[in-house]
Symmetry: C2
Subunit: 222 residues, 2 copies
DNA sequence: CCCTTGCTCGTACGCTGTACGGTGCAGCGT
DNA sequence: ACGCTGCACCGTACAGCGTACGAGCAAGGG
């Protein structure tokens, strides 16, 4: 048994979890493109190839970083309130985690692979749907709609646009030929505000919750 | 005036559009990671750096590829049918384009920048919402929900999973500790089928269209 | 005391995007 | 007919990437 033999270079310990957390921190601070094996090793005060003693490759390391983020997720569903209120609370909590770790949706988008820990965030929503009387297949489909929407929202419009950004986007839209883009140019005033942020997220969340409610009523026999 | 002076190496012509289309073809055939400036140049029978005479860099070239894909999009809204039927037809057409060019959602996910041509695909949906009586800000918000969902669906579950894939995912889910993931394990049979494909896409589309319909009725005064 | 075991990591390979500057042809002015 | 100018093309080079290979070395067991 080797024990703590790895502390031979005055490094405190270093294990998979510490590396994964460092990777996650780097992702949060500098973004997905700035994370390289070399730079991560340097941050940990370790040779680059040392990381390959803990992970088969960068992919596996990124997976572990996702896991580390998911492990931090805790959510206790509100006692009162029906399905709608509970789902809303949960999806907002998920969105908050994704906002703290903006690279998570991008990682999901690049690699199909998902590891188990990531499901920790999903379980409460599935539970709520099952509790509300959705049969498993219907619950799974409804959950997936929420899942796609929440991740997509962070990917395609994570934050509120500043007034300047909105102005500049609007200016771009107004350059489009009006005969080819009649609706876009007609709504050029309103479009930029819909391209991100919490208000837009909540709007879409309510739209989807409406649809899910309609299905619940249908299942309950009107 | 230089005219067709660029044909000095027996190359037929080569302009921005031809390069963009070659890039798009390469994206479609080999995926986003396989597209490099070197490999694209080789495919075109041209030196790598020649591409930089037409584009400032890889980013601009990718943007042009997105534009080339959007330029191919044609959609004529069905005559009959209400808002719901028309929106459904449009979103399915968009999904088809994305299925032909699976890299498009990934490109959108990586680069915030969007160029005008991409709006060609969006205009019809906006038009339908405006025609249905949605005020511009409401129309923009509703459109954006559809937009995020359609792109997200292609990113996070583009195609139907094979029976084998479903079995293997289910097996993975059943390995999760039952006390920590009660709902996931309970629905392990049903979850894999919800993780992609047209059936799941249509399910979510109807959920969202339900929500949008509810808003339309509300705007119309019940 | 030596030998085995296993972590660490220097070096190297093939790839990437792209900056720089040389090369050679087309068209023009004389 | 000749030389000049401008421009398209692209060879070379650099910094950085993921990672395969194997050398170095400390610790533990005999």
């Amino acid at each position: 048994m080797s024990g703590m033999s790895k502390a031979n270079r005055a490094r405190v310990a270093l294990d998979r979890d510490e590396i994964a957390r460092a990777a996650l921190a780097m992702l949060d601070e500098e973004g997905i493109d700035a994370l390289s094996m070399r730079r991560l090793a340097e941050r940990l005060g370790v040779g680059t190839m040392t990381l390959y003693g803990y992970f088969r490759g960068k992919q596996e390391l990124l997976d572990a970083a996702v896991g580390a983020a998911a492990a931090d997720f805790t959510f206790t569903p509100p006692e009162e309130g029906g399905l709608r209120e509970r789902l809303r609370a949960h999806q907002r909590a998920v969105r908050e985690v994704l906002a703290r770790h903006p690279s998570l949706p991008q990682l999901r988008a690049r690699q199909a692979l998902v590891q188990p820990a990531a499901f920790r965030m999903s379980d409460p929503a599935m539970q709520m749907l099952l509790d509300a009387g959705f049969p498993p297949d219907e619950a799974a489909r409804a959950f997936r709609v929420l899942f796609v929407y929440v991740l997509g929202s962070m990917l395609f419009g994570p934050r509120e646009l500043t007034a300047d950004e909105q102005r500049s986007i609007k200016a771009g839209l107004l350059l489009l030929p009006e005969d080819e883009f009649p609706a876009i140019t007609a709504a050029a005033d309103a479009l930029p505000a819909s391209m991100g942020g919490d208000v837009q997220f909540d709007y879409g969340l309510e739209v989807i919750l409406d649809g899910i409610e309609a299905r619940r009523r249908q299942l309950a026999g009107e």
